[in-house]
Amino acid sequence: MSATRELLYLAYRDVVYERRLTLCQVLALLAVLAPLLILFALKFGLIDTLTTRLLTAPANREVIAVGSRHYEAAWFAQMAARPDVAFIVPNTRRISASLSHLHNPASGRTATALQMIPTAAGDPLLTADQPVPQGMAEIVLSASAARALDLTEPGPLIARIARTRSGQPEFVTWTVRVVAILPAATLSEDAALVPLELLIATEDYRDGVAVAALGWSGTAPAPTSRQFARFRLYAASLNDVARLEADLTAEGISVRSQLAEIAALHALDRNLGRVFWLIAALGLIGLVASLAASLVATVERKQRELSIIRLIGFPTASLILYPVAQAVLIATAAALAALLLYWPLSMLLNTWFAASLRPSEAICRLLPQHILLALAATLIGAVIAAAWAGWRAARIEPAEGVRNV
C-alpha cells in the first residue's frame, strides 16, 4: 500500500517537476478537448433546441381533414377517448369560420376576413399560462393579427360578421375581449382562437339562424342534433401521427399531415446525432493516440529513473501505475482547462445568438451530467492511453538503473 501511495506521489512530483513538458501535453489534449466540448455544447444547445422546436411544434402533430363531412358528437367522443389523440375539437364550415371585421378602437386599425379557429382546454397552441377563451366574448389572437390591429396587450375589440338574407346584406357587431396573444412562432397566420360556441353562433348567424345568446335575429334553430363539417385534431406524439392518419383514411376521411416532414425531421435528428458522435469518436481516438504516444515517449525518456524506481524495490504493478497516474493528472488538468475555456466561449456564443433564442434556450449548453460524462470519458481515455506506456514501464529491468545512472 505504501509502495502504491509512494509511487503515485513520485508520478505527481515528476509531472510537476517537468512542468514545461507537462504544459505541452496538457495543451495537446486541450486542443482536442476544447473543440469537442464546444461541439457537444452546440449539439446539446443549438441542434437540440432546433430539433426540439421542430419535433415538439404542435403543427407537426396536427392531422387536418381535407374537405367537409358530417361528424357527430359521438364520433368526437370516440376520438377524444383514444390515447393517441392529444386534442380534438369540432370545427364549423370553412366559409363561415371567419370574422368579417375586427376593429381596435384604441388604434383605429381593422383586420378583415380574420380566420376563427375553435379552441378548448388542452389546446396545444395555448401555453400553460395562457387562459382558454370562454363564452361569446373572449378570443385569443395570433401575433400577426395583433400586430395588424396594433394591439400590444389584451383589450376590448369590436367584432363584426355579415350575411345576406333574402338578398339583403346584414351584419352584427359585438364586443370581444382579447385574453391572450399567441407567440409568433406558434401560429404564423392572421387568426383568432375562439370558443366553439362562438364559432357555432357565427355559423348559425350566417345560415340565417337566430342566436339568442347574442340577440341575433333569424329563423329558429333546427331541433336535430348538430353535426360539424370539420375538426381540429392533434396526435399525442409525432409517433402517433402515422397511425391516426391511417385509421382516419380507413374510415374514408381524407386527411393530410406533416408525416413526410416528420420522417425527414427524425432522419435529420438521427443523422446529426450520428455526425456528432462520429466527430466525437474521432476526437477521442485522436486524444487517446496523442496521449499514448506522448506517454510512451515519456517512459522511454524516463527509462533511467523508472529503472531506479524498480531497483529500489517498487513492485511491478505499481510501475504500471506510474504513467497511468501521470496520464490521469494531465488529462484532468486538460479537462479543467477545457471547461475554463468553454464557459466564456459558450457565454459569448449565447450572447451573439440571444435575439434568436426563446427564454430557457441556449445555442451552446452543457448540462452537469454532460460535464461529468466528458470528464469520465477523458479519464477513461487517459487510462487506456497510458496502458501501453504502463506495460513498457513494467518491462524496464532494474539492472538498467544500476548500469546507466
Binding site: Y17, I308, L311, A317
Partner: protein, 244 residues
C-alpha cells in the same frame, strides 16, 4: 533471527552469460559468501565482470545457472532461495527483498531528479512505510549535505550527489549496501573523501557491503576483503571468475 555465522549471501556455481554481436562474456562464481557486517571489494578493470556480479547480488539480473544462490534476511530464520525465485518468475518477491534489505549507491548517484535531496534520502524508508524525518537530519549532518536538503540533484556537484546517494542507501537500515563504482565520476580528492565516508558509515551501521570499483588503489584497507578474481580469454569468449 539469524545467527552471526550464517552468511547474508551464499552462492555456489553461479553463472551469468552475456552475448553481443561477435563477443561472448560469462561470469562464473564458484563460491561466494558475504557475512553480516562484512565489507567486500570487487576490484578490477572495466569489463572484468564486477558490475555483472553486483547486478546479480542486487537481484537486478537473472542468473543463467546456480547450484546455490540464497539470501539470509536478518529478520527471518529461513534463508530465501533466490535462484528458485528467479526460476519461478517471482519478481515482486525479489523486489520486496530489494526494498527491505538492500541499499544501492550508483556511479553518479542514481537520484531521482524530480525529488529534493530530502525526499531522495527518505524515499527508501517511505517505501517501507516508515517515517524518514528523524533519520534524515543526522545522516545529512554526517555527510555534510544539510544545506542542500531542499535543493534538487541538478543543483549539486557530483561529490554532493554521491553523499546523497550514500544517505539514501543507508536511510532504511538495509542488511547490505551494494555500491557500483561510487567514486568513478569524482576527482581524486573527492573520491578519497567519499570512499572514507562510505566505509566509515558502513562500518558504523554494521551493514554488510559489496563495493565494485576500478579506481581504488591496491593497498589493503583495514577490515575490507578483496574478492579473488581471474579473467580468461578462451575460444568461447571471455570468462571471468570471482570467488571467496
Amino acid at each position: 533471527m539469524t545467527s552471526a555465522a550464517t552468511p547474508v549471501y551464499c552462492c555456489r556455481a553461479l553463472v551469468k552469460q552475456r552475448r553481443s554481436t561477435g563477443s561472448s562474456f560469462s561470469l562464473h562464481v564458484p563460491t561466494f559468501e558475504l557475512h553480516a557486517g562484512e565489507i567486500i571489494l570487487l576490484r578490477g578493470a572495466s569489463g572484468c565482470g564486477k558490475s555483472t556480479l553486483l547486478d546479480l547480488l542486487a537481484l537486478a539480473l537473472r542468473p543463467d545457472a546456480a547450484e546455490c544462490f540464497v539470501f539470509q534476511p536478518p529478520t527471518t530464520a529461513a534463508p530465501v532461495d533466490l535462484w528458485a525465485h528467479w526460476q519461478r518468475g517471482q519478481y515482486d518477491a525479489l523486489a520486496s527483498l530489494r526494498r527491505h534489505h538492500l541499499g544501492y549507491i550508483l556511479q553518479t548517484g542514481g537520484l531521482l531528479p524530480f525529488l529534493t535531496v530530502r525526499e531522495n534520502i527518505g524515499l527508501t524508508a517511505r517505501l517501507l512505510g516508515r517515517d524518514a524525518t528523524a533519520m534524515i537530519g543526522p545522516l545529512a549532518a554526517r555527510l555534510q549535505i544539510t544545506v542542500h536538503l531542499d535543493t534538487y540533484p541538478r543543483q549539486l556537484s557530483l561529490g554532493e550527489r554521491q553523499r546523497v546517494a550514500i544517505a539514501r542507501a543507508l536511510a532504511h537500515q538495509p542488511a547490505v549496501i551494494l555500491a557500483d563504482e561510487p567514486t568513478a565520476s569524482l576527482d581524486p580528492r573527492n573520491a578519497q573523501i567519499i570512499r572514507e565516508l562510505l566505509l566509515e558509515l558502513v562500518r558504523e551501521s554494521g551493514t554488510a557491503a559489496v563495493i565494485a570499483t576500478h579506481d581504488w588503489d591496491d593497498e589493503p584497507i583495514t577490515g575490507v576483503r578483496v574478492l579473488n578474481h581471474r579473467l580468461a580469454s578462451t575460444a568461447r569468449g571471455t570468462q571471468a571468475y570471482f570467488w571467496t
